[in-house]
Amino acid sequence: MDTGARVEGKQMPSRTRVEHGEVAVSNDPGDVLEARDLAACVAICMFDPIANVGGLAHVVLPSSTIQDGPTRPAVFADRAVPLLIEAMTEKGAQPTHLKVTMAGGAEFIGATADDPVGGLGRRTVDAIDGLLRARRIDVTQRSVGGLGSRCVELRLGEGRVVVDPE
């Protein structure tokens, strides 16, 4: 990851945009990991405050069972969750220390969960909840569902996740 530029003696944060289906992990307190315009996609942010390791996955779909071709590694929730945890662990994080934030998963007007497009967000949120529960990992902060598209950033230096709008 790039080192942030120095302006007036202060270290500017180095921003990494995590695009659809991507995962990013860092232990540099100068880093900010962000995902923008989530809409029905879901960002999973994990932070280990003891190891100072943070990670973000930009998840698009609930399950790889429908997959019929090559995709980015974290497009599907059931690939993204283990991938993010593994990458965090490789950087020194402990699964039992993780603070987890989930954001996004917006739904279309009047969409039910089985709506193939309008209900994608809800299905992806449900899938991630199930995958984390199976690993006994709690979600400590969540801003999901509804009609609004969100942006999220994980500020490693502060160990804080900012969701806009909350």
């Binding site: 809409a39 996609c41 429908i66």
Partner: protein, 319 residues
């Protein structure tokens, strides 16, 4: 973004970013060949008073003029596109992208026409030429420069992927229709600003889709505005129809094309490509899947491969 200056044909003193006044809108007349247009004289007058129609890109105008001729040939289309070498270069980049899986590199327009056919190359050139106008901002809809173009290529890309999946005969027609579907936002952008707060307040209730709120507050929506643009540009009827009915695909005469555009648009919204103030305030009509013969899993299969496809296209269509 594309270099807008580089995709113009001939010399013109009128920059394409200048909005032309709506002189003869004609929305709803002769566009649907019997299908409901949902417009009448009062609506036409309202559109004429409210819209600022963007000027058609010169290459697009020339392509439409040439292909309107009964004896139009592949060489006519090639001649029009060849007048702009920058456009040729970008078109060849798209043709050589993984989207087409060419075994050998396509290096000339003649080769591209031979490989893809006359209609496909015409539609690709049309889509490329539209980047000129769709790269502009539509401030009334909260779309900064480049944002509408990102939404447009995402919707076009998804519509094309859906067309391939369903065996639609002209996937590039679906691509160009997806690319141009929201052109009405450019035309209505200034008008909507005066009603911004009322529209936002009503849309925030979350009970109706944004285009329904537009109709209630403005008297028309961006799809109707888009049809007015399409007619003023003399776009082929399937394109003007798919623009008009991209939120209500079941009402279009060219129902399959409209369904492809609706699905492409919905997926672009769901994945957050180029969202404006309307956000995800959207109603997805599942009946479009029946029209397309798709299962409920097919939209997810398209969504799964969209990120790579859209990023490549966005990269290719840059400068």
């Amino acid at each position: 973004m594309w270099n807008f200056d580089s995709v113009r044909v001939g010399s013109s003193s009128t920059p394409s970013s200048v909005h032309a006044p709506l002189l003869a809108c004609g929305a709803g007349e002769g566009s649907a060949g019997g299908a409901a247009t949902g417009t009448d004289a009062a609506l036409r007058a309202m559109l004429a008073n409210s819209l600022q129609l963007p000027t058609i890109p010169h290459v697009a105008a020339a392509l439409i003029r040439v292909t309107d001729q009964p004896r139009a040939s592949a060489s006519d289309v090639r001649d029009v596109i060849s007048t702009d070498q920058a456009l040729v270069t970008k078109l060849l980049r798209v043709v050589n992208s993984p989207m087409y899986g060419m075994r050998k590199r396509v290096t000339t327009l003649t080769h591209a026409v031979a490989m893809l056919g006359f209609e496909a190359v015409k539609n690709l050139a049309l889509a490329a030429s539209f980047s000129e106008v769709l790269g502009q901002s539509a401030e009334g809809y909260g779309l900064d420069p480049g944002r509408l173009w990102m939404h447009s290529i995402a919707a076009g890309c998804a519509a094309r992927l859906a067309a391939e999946r369903t065996g639609y005969a002209q996937p590039e027609e679906a691509f160009v229709a997806g690319v141009i579907h929201d052109v009405g936002k450019l035309a209505a952008s200034v008008h909507i600003q005066s009603m911004y707060s009322e529209i936002l307040a009503k849309a925030a209730c979350g009970k109706r889709a944004f285009n329904a709120v537009e109709r209630e507050v403005m008297g028309f929506d961006h799809a109707q505005a888009g049809e007015a643009v399409a007619l003023s540009w003399n776009l082929p009827e399937p394109l003007s129809q798919s623009i008009r009915w991209h939120h209500e695909p079941g009402r279009a005469e060219h129902a399959v094309l409209a369904a492809l555009v609706h699905l492409g648009d919905a997926l672009a919204v769901a994945l957050g490509y180029g969202l404006g103030i309307d956000g995800v305030s959207y109603t997805f009509h599942q009946s479009c899947l029946i029209t397309l013969g798709m299962s409920g899993a097919d939209p997810m299969r398209i969504a799964a491969i969209m990120p790579d496809a859209v990023e490549r296209l966005a990269h290719i269509t840059q400068g």
